[in-house]
Symmetry: C2
């Protein structure tokens, strides 16, 4: 309890953009997020006053941090379960628990558990590293799986992957051999069929220790090269019953895995079959605010960062209604370092974006520039979906690349484009 | 320019709630607000990492602060004009300028200038302190003004008043004598007729150095005991032509006084007359984010804090459309220290508010408790105005007093009240 404000203190392990935006939400609730960051230049450390520097792998640092918080939660999945269990054993309140978080940390454990719960997942096979004698045996296992389930095969590292790193699609035994010779050492692997998905969806919910849960509308997520580039809320032309099934599924996962905080369930939209009776299969789980719900910051009565705080504080949850017919989120990814717009400063980019699209909401993370890095996102709300998608795409690309993909120039057209109606 | 982010740095003089909420908005723009605060426990100092401690009256402190900012702006009106001129003379960019800010600092100067511009104001008389030999002469002047303009008379200190402190309504010569004997010394005064207003309005706009301006919908502000308790956006049943006139008037003031940043024009809604051809008279001006536009944080595409930043950075301004048919803001004022709810902690208050009204947005300032002090505000958006007003009032009172004015108890009714539709 902060004696100055009479309010509890939430601590977040990890100083990335999720912590940054959680701090923004904490301010409204009368609080200030306490952050354990690795570097003083981390995204959240640039904007929050109460930052401890330390590694999420260092139990002593975690303990010292937790001692100054009423609740501890996470910006990422990388805190070892044993450390979290130690904190809990020491009397600290930590959400989500180590037991829940396991299923967001390890795709092998997650696949197994969801299957046990009868939740539809792609056909898969876990290949634990200590179950194979070496690369050759991995090749044999993948080849056997491919023969059985059909090629291509999706090979994933069980732990540590993100933004598509740690996910490979292999077409045949030769490709498997090429991939596996790069492993040093061989990690735990999950093999999956390449799902004939028509698109990807996400069902995001929040759940409190009290057991209350609230779901946002189901969204469509668009990935390119394994990384999310766009989210459309709600998912266009998703039949009501499929949307309801997706939400039910996410609520079931939250309940059965005893998740506290935001839970994002990444889904594949697939043909109805016995392996996917509702036309849905779970891809993976995230137990923290998630990219697929960044749209809620401007598009919903309660944004995911506030909701995550409410959940871990065991406050009743906020309304999750959309505030506009459509919201489109575009991820800002750092463009090529030698691209034609590389010389355009971020300041100029924001300036010209504001000039062209006065209705686009910008969220920048203060992160150093690196090609492909997530530097921010934009949201735009309204009623004309095609137009919103155009704006979000153009805006995100411009902020990332310094290039308007449609050739727009601020010199030629000094006037703003009228905003979409609401 | 911040070398880490490639973005300019805005510094705000004053560490109150306006700086706090401006920091929140700065985060989205990739920035972190630099704050000059008097105390480490100031509202903004609790949530921003880059705080200098110092007085806004100390020119050396202001100079040192400005040297580390690309633009300096203000959380309040109390920085002496000469100090601001010194900063500008030293090459610092300061918005609004001393010349503009004068009209928000001194009601006598403001009344005079607006009259000169032909903008309707209440009938008034300035009584400069060095124009009167002592209290007796003040009584004579007020009595003469009352005889002329009619009783009661509104007596205001020209400078330093806020939340109705520094504003008195006197009914007759005896009351004037009582008031004036309390003055020590006699301040510069403005005498005004008591305007037969039907209600109060505010027209809030923002303007950039480039000259671009954007206006939010005109709102109704409700004051009790001289302090704003509620704002309704847009002002109910305001005829379109009167709303347009109010907006035009605010844009004219912004333009003619060369205001940069947010400008709030407090207005009286009065019968049409030769002294008020549009049924409007200006009460006062604020040149910073203002209580009458707190609703924009949840109720408009662009909130006033972001817009103020855009304006002082000379970025193009954001859209000012409302996101819902109605938004109601309720101010949270500290209740009596010995009231029946005084023992209910702020944490419990937030908790129960969330339980009862999951659609109400809370904004708390982290300020120490004091009866009558503005501790925060709530916003609620939707389509049923009467219901929104009920929710905002009850919520703000509950947060301030620890008492539900309608007797609701969380024990009896554990379920939330369904939110208003949008
Ligand atoms: N079995 C599969 N069939 C088809 N496509 C798949 C399959 N598994 C993964 N993908 C594709 O690869 C993307 C990344 O996979 P996954 O979400 O497992 O990896 P990640 O690196 O953990 O991603 P994230 O950034 O979401 O954490 C998916 O969004 C999907 O587009
Ligand atoms: N001439 C007038 N006639 C009628 N009512 C008046 C007049 N002047 C002021 N008032 C009332 O007193 C309130 C406070 O006046 P004013 O805005 O001048 O004071 P303030 O202390 O500067 O307030 P603020 O908190 O807005 O800065 C007004 O909102 C209005 O309700
Ligand atoms: Mg994924
Ligand atoms: Mg006023």
């Amino acid at each position: 309890m902060d004696s100055r404000t009479g309010l509890p203190t939430v601590g977040m392990v990890g100083g990335g953009q999720l912590a940054r935006m959680t701090h923004q939400a904490a301010i409204a609730l009368g609080q200030s997020l306490r952050v354990l960051a690795e570097h003083p230049d981390d995204s959240a450390a640039l904007v929050a006053p109460d930052v401890s520097l330390g590694s999420h792998l260092d139990l002593a640092a975690l303990r010292e941090f937790a001692a100054r918080c009423d609740v501890v939660t996470f910006d990422h999945e990388h805190v070892p379960g044993d450390h979290i269990r130690s904190l809990a054993a020491g009397g600290h309140t930590v959400y989500p628990s180590a037991e829940a978080l396991r299923y967001a940390q390890d795709k092998a454990v997650m696949r197994q558990r969801l299957s046990d719960l009868g939740i539809p997942v792609p056909r898969y096979l876990v290949v634990p590293s200590d179950d194979v004698t070496g690369p050759d045996e991995v090749v044999d296992r993948v080849t056997a799986f491919g023969r059985d389930a059909g090629w291509p095969v999706v090979v994933k590292t069980a732990r540590g992957g993100y933004d598509g790193r740690g996910v490979w699609v292999v077409r045949d035994a030769d490709a498997v051999r090429d991939l596996v010779t790069g492993f040093e050492p061989v990690p735990d692997l999950v093999l999956e069929e390449l799902v004939p998905l028509s698109r990807e969806l996400a069902a995001v919910v929040a759940r409190s220790p009290f057991g209350q849960a609230a779901a946002w509308p189901v969204v469509e997520t668009v990935q390119e090269d394994g990384i999310c580039v766009e989210v459309v809320a709600p998912a266009p032309e998703l039949p009501e019953d499929r949307a309801a099934a997706a939400t039910r599924l996410a609520l079931t996962v939250a309940h059965r895995l005893d998740v506290v905080g935001v839970l994002a369930v990444e889904l594949f939209d697939v043909p109805v079959s016995s392996a996917a009776p509702d036309g849905l299969q779970v891809n993976e789980l995230a137990m923290r605010p998630h990219n697929s719900a960044h749209w809620t910051m401007d598009g919903s009565v309660t944004g995911q960062f506030e909701q995550h705080l409410r959940a871990v504080l065991d406050y009743p949850l906020g309304r999750t209604d959309a505030v506009a017919p459509w919201t489109v989120m575009g991820n800002v990814l750092g463009g090529p370092a030698d691209g034609p717009g590389a010389a355009v400063s971020l300041d100029e980019r924001v300036h010209h974006l504001a000039a062209r699209f006065p209705d686009v909401k910008v969220h920048l993370y203060g992160k150093g520039y690196r090609p492909g890095r997530k530097l921010g996102h934009v949201n735009v709300c309204g009623s004309d979906l095609a137009e919103l998608r155009r704006r979000a795409r153009l805006s995100a690309q411009w902020l990332g690349d310094g290039v308007w993909a449609d050739g727009w120039s601020s010199d030629e057209a000094a006037t703003a484009e009228a905003g979409g109606d609401r």
